[in-house]
Symmetry: none
Subunit: 409 residues, 2 copies
């Protein structure tokens, strides 16, 4: 069997100390510590020192892609995640179904809810949009989970140099899309026409009329943001010659996987939330290794606990992850190179992503095992990897399983 | 109050060991050691490994600017330091008043002193140059301290692809300015015309006649070097959104501060030399923190002791710095992020700048405090920062005070 790479990314895992301790450093993590003992350790700047990563840009980087070249906003990632097969040159948006009230044009109306009362059944509304909106260019509109969706505009001469229509807070009017440079003018006009037509269709739609009767908020506006022009990006397999599998429950990470043309695997019970079935995820991951050369396993909830500022919750979840990853420890280290790391820090005291470097372990037959024997922010930097960049991780790992090409003679 | 950043740069502080010791490692530095204990430590390549930094390029880098893009020679920095408001496209020179003897054109004469006997009163001479030299383009000539000055040539189609007129040693003839590429031809002609006119004006000037009578050397030639074309560079505040204050006594560093449109602060008694009033400097620095978001404190004399090859002098000055920075240690670590580092090494045994990395401490609430408990070349690399680049220091610090932007979602 060919050697495989398994990259386990625990989202927002790393932290800043409070009274000298972090959730990770204070959690009991016998399995992770054993991995640290058996592997080579270091710290890693996912993007570069001092640059706060998003989860999307971080994952692209950890998969060996330069986000400054292949990331143009969240739109293309979300559109891919929603199942749209985007092409180079497409202009993509994240979409929320929202609620507006008032008279006149959609841009004269006020946003009363940015999630349309957490509307969840949007199939009929999406169908009505796709059947009735008429633009000078093609478009694809798909729903995501809940109130979410993605819009792709496809045609000649489109540009992402335009502004969002989502005012980002309630009580404000829907924003007109404006060009930030001359070449965005045409696209801005198309977007504004889409906004107006979509609102008219949604506001009159029988499903919304019914919601209104029931005292629910109408999903009568589409709020667009995260615009991005789809860049030309090779697939992961084209770039590295390895078949990619992404085991994830979170839409954004699934989007990254699809964006790089990997297989996205979401075993039953995997939610991408605090309630996810970790053991199902690990099982799915081990299965995925049989049919893929490179598997990325994404575990989300640590980041949520970080955003919530919940030290004890984060610590307990880390312990649960440690408990559940035991089967990964039993994979043959001659066959599978195992990476354990995070995409960024989400410190309890900041409740947001920060650029503090993350600890990283690489475990495989033949790595230069160092003296580090615990997985934590306070031990990792003492390891044999010193301080590396996220962008180099795939190359380092491919080299360790003897799959990299020689440069020179 | 918004959080602030204070970057203390001890010029040429780092060294190479002699009998296993450096001035820094052998100096008694209880305050710096305490800072090391409370902070996160590392070593830093100011520009990049093996590249010997100038103090100007090093400071530009430490302030987050790429010297390969924004540094074109010392001319623009000196001109700014001399108080000239330089514009993109200006050609700038460092100038020395020198002494020449001989017959004929200025370029047939021999330099007998490169500092005109350390002439110090040059106001009248500078005035005569500005009033009487006639060029096809505009120029600004200002005096600096002592025999120093700065020249700026401003007009269409100028180039810095020309050679210096300063022969750099005595007993040699003044050098004709030559184009190193075709596009420098016009500028070289202008410079040579300036050289000739300036010499005629200075040689006949009553003040020089008087010096001659008194047996002093005439300041009868302007020796030009360090030519540079002013690049288009945003201000520090434009780039980072923080108001910059630079506390310094040295012309070159003041020039860097003004070049990035920071406020330059030189408290009374601060000379930029071995005799500087360190306590006045520290006081000025603490005051500057009240009105600026980012303060750079520059301490010069360590570099001079290095250039002199004076181990004991350097060690004693380090101890004096340690004693004087005590008030900085008492700043609230929740409010002020404190960086202690150097711009480069100036080893006793080399007497020049070297690229040996410098130790760096970052101290602030929330940094991952490591095991390092002394500030020295032999301890710093064991710290949690590992090895970083000077260019990343502002980004890392902004992230730690939660002022950086997220890239991605």
């Amino acid at each position: 069997m060919d050697k495989k790479i398994l990259m386990v990314i625990i989202d927002g895992l790393a932290d800043r100390p409070i009274d000298g301790k972090t959730p990770l450093s204070s959690a009991k993590t016998p399995n992770m510590d054993k991995l640290a003992s058996n592997g080579i350790n270091g710290i890693m700047d996912t993007i570069s020192p001092g640059i706060r990563p998003g989860s999307d840009t971080a994952h692209l980087t950890l998969l060996g892609f330069d986000p400054y070249q292949c990331y143009s906003g969240r739109g293309p990632i979300e559109a891919t995640g929603a199942g749209i097969d985007i092409l180079s040159g497409d202009v993509c948006f994240r979409v929320n179904f929202g609620t507006v009230e008032g008279e006149g044009s959609v841009f004269d109306k006020t946003v009363t809810d940015r999630r349309a009362g957490r509307i969840s059944e949007t199939d009929e509304l999406v169908k009505a949009i796709n059947e009735n909106v008429e633009l000078d260019v093609d478009f694809i509109f798909k729903r995501g989970t809940g109130h979410r969706g993605a819009l792709v505009i496809r045609g000649e001469g489109l540009s992402d140099e335009i502004t969002a229509t989502d005012p980002k807070s309630i009580g404000k009017k829907v924003k007109k899309c404006k060009a930030t440079r001359d070449k965005g003018e045409k696209t801005a006009q198309i977007v504004n026409s889409f906004m107006e037509q979509a609102h008219r269709i949604l506001d009159q739609h029988p499903y919304n009329k019914e919601r209104e009767k029931e005292g629910l908020m109408k999903g009568n506006v589409l709020l667009l943001r995260g615009v991005g022009l789809t860049p030309q990006v090779p697939s992961f397999e084209e770039r590295f010659g390895m078949k990619l599998g992404v085991v994830a429950g979170t839409t954004l990470i699934k989007g990254v996987g699809k964006f790089l043309k990997g297989d996205v695997i979401t075993p039953p019970g995997v939610t991408g939330g605090k309630d996810t079935d970790l053991s199902a995820k690990i099982e799915g991951c081990i299965e995925a290794l049989e049919t893929h050369d490179f598997v990325l396993l994404h575990i989300k909830a640590t980041d949520e606990y970080g955003h919530d500022g919940d030290f004890e919750g984060k610590k307990a979840f880390v312990e649960s992850v440690d408990h559940n990853i035991k089967p990964l420890m039993e994979l043959d280290p001659q066959e599978v190179l195992l990476i354990l790391t995070a995409d960024h820090s989400t410190p309890i005291m900041v409740k947001e992503h920060t650029a503090d470097p993350v600890p990283v372990i690489i475990s495989h037959e033949g790595v230069r095992v160092d003296d580090v024997s615990a997985f934590s922010e306070f031990e990792a930097y003492k390891g044999g990897l010193c301080r590396i960049r996220g962008r180099d991780l795939v190359n380092i790992s491919m080299d360790l399983i003897d799959k990299s090409q020689k440069f020179g003679a």
